[in-house]
Structure formats: structure tokens, C-alpha cells
């Protein structure tokens, strides 16, 4: 909000020399100063007045605030009004307030001559960001920036029947505003009307037909206090945001209306008294429930407890008085009506704190008993997983939770959660998976980096029947033909989390075809724990890759973080290892191309019994001509309680070979 330093000056008893000092005090005790600009002989302040401090939406209010924080005195203006005894306002106007208006005041001005305003007045308006229009409107606006109360001037002769109503509009009622735009109104919009038609959208904008024109002679000056909520809603509904609407929707002191009217009359009289302007006797004033000062009890011990700083009673009294509050012996504080923001003891504590100065409060480490914080297990494992993946050479990325239609065209569409008001079409849905983001990362980085391995841990979102689900997932992507590296990552990661009872199962094609088609089912696997799928890894379908112009194969792995975190354990128990020597034998076997290695290993293990401690696959050779593959294993024979004899191993090897060759498609290579 813009303020003229010269206008502020006019309220102080003594002139303030240095505007910078004032601004610094404002910053530390009241409001943020956005800027200061020299214009002619004036300084224009740009100040972010806090939205609850409507008392400072005016030069007078801000001057009062500056006086409090800088220890200055305010000069009270005495306003005397010469009314014309022969022109009684009640003989001309009748106002009926139906709803939405706490106070409606008005005065009637005769012999008005509409013309241009004097230069000094126009200049102050321009400096404060208001466009001068004519002397009547300009004085109304000038009074608004001085007092904070928006005024509206009607051409009285355009009001039919001399009756004015404050009421909600009827559905379909129309009004053309001052700037020539037509608005269709409804029952949520408050209007000022005469017997026939709306004259103005209450508190927002005046109508063209009832506005001030060159020919206006009689002016009805309205000074009202409208319900903030009604004005706010109407302003949003009509998409019409005016200076008056802004002020009304923040809530104003109803006691301002009369002060503002009289201030306006004072200026009209000063400027145009010689021209014969006359003011009707009396004032229209609908003010059913007078706003009274509030009383709040203040416990000065509470002040010390909340601020954590001992401030003397005298100091507290001084601060409250400087703000215009009255305090009695029992520390009952009386709050003037213009401070609508103060209704609780805590509000008073804030006043004391900020005027005293937050910079004066000395930091104190809390002395409460130190109870150690509870560990957040999920976050512990999240960190653990990130540490592990980074140690495996993967780099962490963060992607938007929002994705575009193109990003998710291969996902099951009915699960997607759509944003009602997206920032742009690129951010239309909540991501159903971490894959779309990771693919974008690959696409973006492939020209500059080879061997890209990245991961993200973050929320994914899905529309369930009854609710919207959000789930934390781990997603990792490896560029290249790296299924087994990805599998190794899963294997090592899960084991490091103390999870051992998992296995990999070829992808269930049918189950996946119904939903999202991400992975090539012939080159992908489920990760199973206790019969449940906790993740999937495999090659992303070529069509998806090609569409995103990715130059190589891509392996994507996805794990349900929340389930993994529940299964993970830090408990590790020492297992004694055998003190007896091991005997290692190799075996190699030809099996059909489509035979699962796991089956062969299981067969060996079952034939070997407890003598076999471990089986390691050390070579695979694919013989495409024969449609066979050769598997070579190290078999490690070892017992915990005694040494294994070579004869036992020979016997077991024989049994293994026999069992393998029971399958006519298997052929053990003889050494």
C-alpha cells in the first residue's frame, strides 16, 4: 500500500525529519517496508500493511502507528461543519437497510460544481496509485486514503423516489458500472438500489447511471460499513476486485463512517465553500448495534511466560497507552474500536512484544526435561535405503508429483487422480508411479551421461473406490541391458534390511495386462515375500521407450516402501560358521533353453541333502543352434560338526548327476 510522507507528516505535532528512521521503526515493530521513492518534494512509502491491521489502511491510521512506535504525538484535527438549517436531509432521503450492512451513513451536498480537482490533491492521489476523475470523486478517494473509509458519491437527482435500499440483488438483475461494463447479479450480491433499480454494487463499484457527471448538482455521499464476508464473496463471484472491495472485505471500524463523512464535508467546504456549496442539516445514520470498546484482562505473568522476557509493569503500561489503549488498576485493558484485530490476551501480548522489540528478547534454551525423541522408523529406513542405493552407485532425483496426460498414457486411466485447477497441462494428474519422472530424467540426461542409474523415493497416488490413496514407493531405473544388475540391487538391498525370505517370480502376464503395461513380461519378475508381491523389476516395453526417444533398453524396478519398512529389521544374530574344511566340486549341465535355473538349482540342492552348504552359478553359455544352455556350478560341501570325506562327496555327486539325468532333456557334461 502506498503512503505519502507529506500527508503522514500533517498528522504529527512535530515534523519528522528523517523518513528512513520511520521506515526502520516500521520494519522492526509493525510492517514490512517494500520500498521508498522520492517524488517531487514528497517521499512515497510502499508498505505491506498486515491484513489484520485495517486500522492502518489509511494515512491517519499509519501516522497513529508511527506515533506509537517512535514516541511521537498526533495532532487532532478539529472539524466544524456549517450545515444549512433550511435543507434537512430527512426531508429528501429515506434509507432502508435490509441486510448485510452494519452501518449506513450519508450526507447530502447541494450546489455542487463538478470540475477538475486542484493540482496538489491530484498529485497525492496519483502518488498513492489512484487515478483522479473529478473533484467530487477525488475528495471521496482522498478521504479514503486519509481515514481508511471508502466513500461513494451518487448523483442524487438520478435516484428515483428519494428512497434508498440496502438489499441483496434479485436473480437476473443487471447493472452497468461506472466503467461501462454490465454485470448480472444474484441473491449473493449486495446492492444499493432505489425503488426501481440497483444503483451500485454495494462496497464494490458504483453504477454508471447514478454516478457523478458534469451536470451533477446534488450529491449524496455514502459512507457505509458492509459485511466483509458478503463483499469478499461477491467480489470473487463477479471477479471484480476494487480498492473499496479490498478494504471492506478486510473489515473496517463502523465508527469510521461518520468521521469520514465529516472529513469529506470539511474538504468540500475548504475548497468550494466560496463557490456556494451547501450541506444539508443532519446525517443519515443506520447504526443498530453500536460497536463498543472491548475489555480484556491482562495477566502480566502470562506476558513474561509467553515472551520469555521480564518486562516491567511500567513498561507494559507505557506500551499499551502509546497504542491508545486504556488500562485500569486491575490490568483490564480497554481496546478502541479501530483495533478490530485485538480480541484476546494473546493479541495484547503480541502488541507488547512487538513494541518492546523482538530483538530485545534474549534467547533462552528451554529447560524442560529431556525426554529422548521417539525414532521415526519409516524415516530411518528411508534414509537407510537411500544410503544403500547411493553406495551401489545410484543417484537420487526428485520429480514433480504432477504429470501430464502423455506421461501416463500407458497407465490404467481409471486409477488416475486429476487436478481440478492444474498449473498447466504438464501437471494435470497426480503421478500413479515414479516411472514417468524417471523416464524423463533418462531422456534429458542420456546425451550427456552414459551408464545412467537413478532412483527416487516418493509418494504415488491412486484413486481407490472410496478414497484417494497415497503411497511411498522406491523407484529405480538403469539404462542398458541391466536386468541382473537391478536384480542384484534388490537382492543386496533387501538382505541389508534383514529381509531374507524373498524370491523372484516371472511376471504374471495376465494380471498385468488388465492394468498398466509397463514391463516386458518375458524379461521381468515379481519380488515376492510371504506370497505377496512387494515389487517388480524388468525391462520397460520398447514402445514406451521409443515414444520417449530413449536410445537404449531401460530396466525399471519398483518396491513398495511402506511394506518393506515394516518388514525390515536391524536385528542380526550371529550364526556360528563351520570350523571344518569345505570341499568344492564343479558340475556343468546342458538344459533346454527355457528351463529355469532355479529349478536346476533346487534339484541339485535336494539331491545333495545337508552336505551341500552352497551352490554358485559361475557360468551360463547359450547354445542357440541346439536351443540349449550350459550351466556351470560350484558346489560347496561342508558340515558344521565334522569334516566331510571325499568318499561322501563322490557318493553325493553321483546321486546329483543321477537325479539330473532322470530328466531326459538334461545332460551332465562329463569331465
Amino acid at each position: 500500500m502506498k503512503f505519502s510522507f507529506n500527508l503522514l507528516q500533517s498528522f504529527f505535532e512535530k515534523k519528522v525529519e528523517n523518513p528512513k528512521k520511520v521506515l526502520q521503526a516500521l520494519t522492526f515493530h509493525s510492517f514490512e517496508v517494500v520500498g521508498m521513492e522520492k517524488r517531487g518534494n514528497d517521499f512515497i512509502f510502499d508498505i505491506d500493511v498486515l491484513p489484520n491491521r485495517t486500522d492502518c489502511y489509511s494515512h491517519y491510521g499509519l501516522a497513529r502507528e508511527i506515533a506509537a512506535i517512535c514516541g511521537l504525538k498526533i495532532k487532532e484535527k478539529r472539524i466544524k461543519i456549517k450545515e444549512d438549517k433550511n435543507l434537512k436531509i430527512d426531508d429528501f432521503v429515506l434509507v432502508k437497510v435490509k441486510e448485510g450492512c452494519e452501518r449506513y451513513s450519508a450526507r447530502l451536498l447541494f450546489n455542487v460544481k463538478v470540475k477538475e480537482s486542484p493540482r496538489w490533491l491530484k498529485q497525492i492521489l496519483i502518488n498513492c496509485g489512484i487515478e483522479p476523475i473529478n473533484n467530487v470523486v477525488d475528495i471521496a478517494n482522498y478521504v479514503m486514503i486519509e481515514t481508511g473509509q471508502p466513500l461513494h458519491a451518487f448523483d442524487f437527482e438520478k435516484i428515483e423516489g428519494g428512497e434508498i435500499f440496502v438489499r441483496f440483488a434479485k436473480k437476473g438483475e443487471k447493472i452497468v458500472t461506472f466503467d461501462g461494463k454490465e454485470y448480472e447479479l444474484d441473491e449473493d450480491i449486495l446492492v444499493i438500489s432505489d425503488v426501481k433499480k440497483p444503483l451500485a454494487i454495494a462496497g464494490i463499484k458504483g453504477g454508471r447511471d447514478s454516478g457523478i457527471s458534469k451536470n451533477t448538482k446534488i450529491v449524496l455521499l455514502e459512507s457505509a460499513n458492509f459485511d466483509p464476508l458478503i463483499i469478499k464473496k461477491a467480489s470473487q463471484k463477479l471477479n471484480l476486485f476494487t480498492e473499496a472491495a479490498f478494504r471492506f472485505s478486510h473489515g473496517l471500524d463502523p465508527n469510521l463512517t461518520e468521521i469520514a463523512l465529516n472529513t469529506a464535508v470539511y474538504y468540500f467546504n475548504n475548497l468550494y465553500g466560496k463557490d456556494g456549496i451547501k450541506f444539508a442539516k443532519g446525517i443519515i445514520d443506520h447504526y443498530k448495534k453500536k460497536a463498543l470498546t472491548r475489555r480484556i484482562g491482562l495477566d502480566w505473568k502470562k506476558v513474561e511466560s509467553v515472551l520469555g522476557e521480564r518486562i516491567t509493569k511500567n513498561e507494559i503500561l507505557k506500551i499499551l497507552k502509546s497504542l491508545g489503549f486504556k488500562i485500569n488498576k486491575n490490568f483490564i485493558v480497554e481496546i478502541p474500536t479501530f483495533r478490530k484485530d485485538i480480541s484476546l490476551q494473546e493479541d495484547l501480548i503480541e502488541e507488547i512484544g512487538r513494541i518492546y522489540g523482538y530483538e530485545q528478547i534474549k534467547p533462552k534454551i528451554p529447560l524442560s526435561l529431556l525426554s529422548p525423541p521417539k525414532r521415526n522408523d519409516e524415516l530411518f529406513w528411508e534414509k537407510f535405503i537411500k544410503d544403500t542405493l547411493v553406495s551401489f552407485g545410484l543417484t537420487e532425483v526428485y520429480n514433480y508429483s504432477f504429470v501430464s496426460q502423455d506421461d501416463v498414457d500407458y497407465f490404467y486411466q481409471k486409477d488416475l487422480i486429476e487436478i481440478e485447477n492444474p498449473a498447466s497441462s504438464s501437471y494435470k494428474f497426480l503421478r500413479p508411479s515414479l516411472l514417468p519422472g524417471l523416464l524423463k530424467n533418462i531422456q534429458k540426461n542420456q546425451a550427456l551421461f552414459s551408464d545412467i542409474k537413478i532412483f527416487e523415493i516418493g509418494k504415488v497416488f491412486k484413486q481407490q473406490k472410496e478414497y484417494k490413496e497415497e503411497k511411498k514407493m522406491i523407484g529405480a531405473i538403469l539404462m542398458g541391458d541391466k536386468f541382473f544388475e537391478a536384480k542384484g540391487i534388490v537382492d543386496s538391498l533387501l538382505k541389508s534390511m534383514g529381509i531374507t525370505s524373498f524370491y523372484f517370480k516371472p511376471l504374471d502376464e495376465k494380471k498385468f495386462a488388465e492394468r498398466s503395461i509397463i514391463w516386458n513380461p518375458l524379461r521381468s519378475a515379481h519380488i515376492i515375500i510371504d506370497g505377496k508381491n512387494i515389487g517388480t523389476l524388468g525391462e520397460v516395453f520398447g514402445t514406451i521407450i521409443e515414444k520417449r526417444k530413449i536410445k537404449d533398453k531401460v530396466v525399471y524396478l519398483e518396491l513398495d516402501f511402506e511394506r518393506l519398512a515394516r518388514l525390515a529389521t536391524e536385528e542380526k544374530e550371529y550364526e556360528p560358521f563351520s570350523l571344518y574344511p569345505a570341499i568344492v566340486r564343479d558340475i556343468s549341465v546342458f538344459v533346454p533353453h527355457d528351463e529355469l535355473v532355479e529349478n536346476v538349482m533346487n534339484l541339485i540342492e535336494n539331491s545333495g541333502g545337508n552336505l551341500i552348504r552352497d551352490i554358485e552359478l559361475f557360468d551360463i553359455y547359450e547354445d542357440e543352434k541346439e536351443n540349449k544352455k550350459s550351466l556351470a556350478f560350484h558346489l560347496i560341501f561342508q558340515l558344521e560338526d565334522r569334516a566331510v570325506s571325499p568318499e561322501e562327496v563322490d557318493f553325493t555327486m553321483k546321486k546329483i548327476i543321477e537325479n539330473l539325468e532322470k530328466n531326459s532333456n538334461f545332460e551332465v557334461r562329463k569331465q
Binding site: 498486515l50 520469555g308 534474549k362 524423463k440 537413478i454
Partner: protein
Amino acid sequence: MPKINLKLFEQETIHQLKKCQNIKELDNLFKEIFSKEGELKKISKIIPTLPPLEKKEFGKEFGRVKNVLLKEFERKKNELKEKFEKEKREKERLDVTIPPPKILRGHFHPITLARKKIEEIFQSMGFEIVEGPEIEDEWHTFDALNIPPYHPARDVLSLGKTFYLKGGGIMRTHTSSVQIRYMEKNNPPFRIIVPGRVYRLDEIDASHEIDFWQLEGLMVGKDVSVANFKAIAGEFLKRFFEKEVKMRLRPSYFPFTEPSFEVDISCVMCKGKGCQTCKRSGWLECGGAGMVHPQVFKNCKLNPKEWQGFAFGFGINRLVMVKHRIPDIRLFNSGDLRFITQF
């Protein structure tokens, strides 16, 4: 009978021995001298043929020469061995100036690194780390925080910049919603921090994001004060930036705190002298804070006469940008490895 000059033989042999360049040559020479058909054997055969007087003399001299040569051979052998070892070692010398192969290392996202640091600092001060949902309802995001519909603060605090979801629900605009969720379920005293993603409808540019990170803090007890906040926040900022930073509080307004303030820190670039980053003010905005509003306690079924405390909300992206001099907030969600691999 040839006259044998043992002296000459000794000199000749030593001369040859000195010429040996390696163990093999030395071994060959040794064999020439000491083997069964060697020179010494040949000489020794002469001894019986000598007259008795000379025999004794010659035998004595022969013994001496033999011993001398054995010692010389041993000495030469050691010398050559040492030379050989030294040459062998010399061949193994590494050129340590050769550039190393690239070791592929993973990198953490800078937000993760900041979160680790933040969480570590607050945990050491007794704060529990709490998370909450990103899809929220209006009660936890606005109403419970004393921001009813059409409240002017919804616009001013840019909380009106809310993403609405089709079929109901909103994306949280601040992590303060987790304050409410925590207070609904727990009884004071408590101290928590909530690091999390928040979402605001905005035009994305170098300093505005729609999807960014916030750090919420809440400490409630019988006598938790503004002075306590200053101590905790000051300690956090000092440890986060790993240098002395000044902190200042300016009056502000949030519906959910009373008193409310803005938290500024002295510019870490120019140490408060004024530079481009701090727009010549010497100060950087860090976030908002205040004492929990009594109505917020009431909304969580806690008695405001019994409890008081502070809450704060800092922007994590902003803290990281200041710390690492990152000029553009869009880098965080860019997935650009040229950015991430710097951390």
C-alpha cells in the same frame, strides 16, 4: 711339471669374478673353479707330485686361496642379488601421476542432504520427526488453523493458491496441516518437526515452484516462549549454515499464531553488508513463526490455558539455495544430473 703360480690364479679368478654381471655368470664361473672338474680340482691333483718340502708350503697356500675365493664368491653373490632385487623393484615403480579411472559414485539429492542435516540437528535437541499426508482436507489445511473460508489470509499467505482434486480433496499448501494431525492424537508436552512436500498453484519461475519442500516445527509445553524459539531457531540456523548467522524477528500476521513474526537471517553471502542476493538489505527471509494461537489448541481439543508453544515454517529449498548459492529453484525438480552430481 708345470709350475703353478697360485697367486696369479687367485688374481686372475678375482678379476674374472669382478666382471660377472649377474648370478648366472657368477654361477658358471663358480662351477669352472669349484666343480669336480674345476680349476681347483685340477690344481689339487698336482699336490701329491710335489717334493715334500714344497708340498707343505703349496698345500697351505692352496687352502688360503680356496678360502679367499669362496668368500669373494659369497660376497659377489650377495652384491649381485641385491643389485638384482633393486632392479626388480625399480621396474615396479608406479607413476602416481597417471589420472585414475572413473569410480562411479551415487549422489544424494541436495534436498535429502539438507533434510539429513536438519533432522540430525533437531533430533539432538529432542525433536521427533513426523510426516503426514500430502493429499489433505480443508479442515486440517485451513479451518483448524483458524483460517475459515473467505479469510483474507488465504490470499495474503498465498494459501488461496490451492490445488483442488477432482472428486474431493486438496494438495496441502503447507506442512502446518501435520501440526493439527499430530496435536489431535498426542498430548503435550511435545516437540516435533515435519519436513515435507507442499504444493501451491503458481507461475513457475526462478524463485517460484508449485511442488517444493517445507520444514514445520512445533514445540508445546507449560511455558514454552518466544525466547525459547529464538534459542532453538538460532541454534538450528547456526548449525545448518555451519557459521555464525544473525537472526531477527519482524512482526507479521498468521491466523494460526499470536504473536506472529517473520524470521530473517543475516545474508550468508555478504555477511550482512548488502549484495545482490539479499537485494542490498543484508537480510534474507527464512520463513514464518509464532506462538500457537489459542483457537488452534481449542480446535485440537487442547486447553490453551494449560499449554503454550511456538510453531514455525521454513522453506527447505530456500535454505539449500542460500547455503549452496543455487540461483534457480527449478533445478530441484529438474532431474538434471549435471546439478545433482555436484552434491
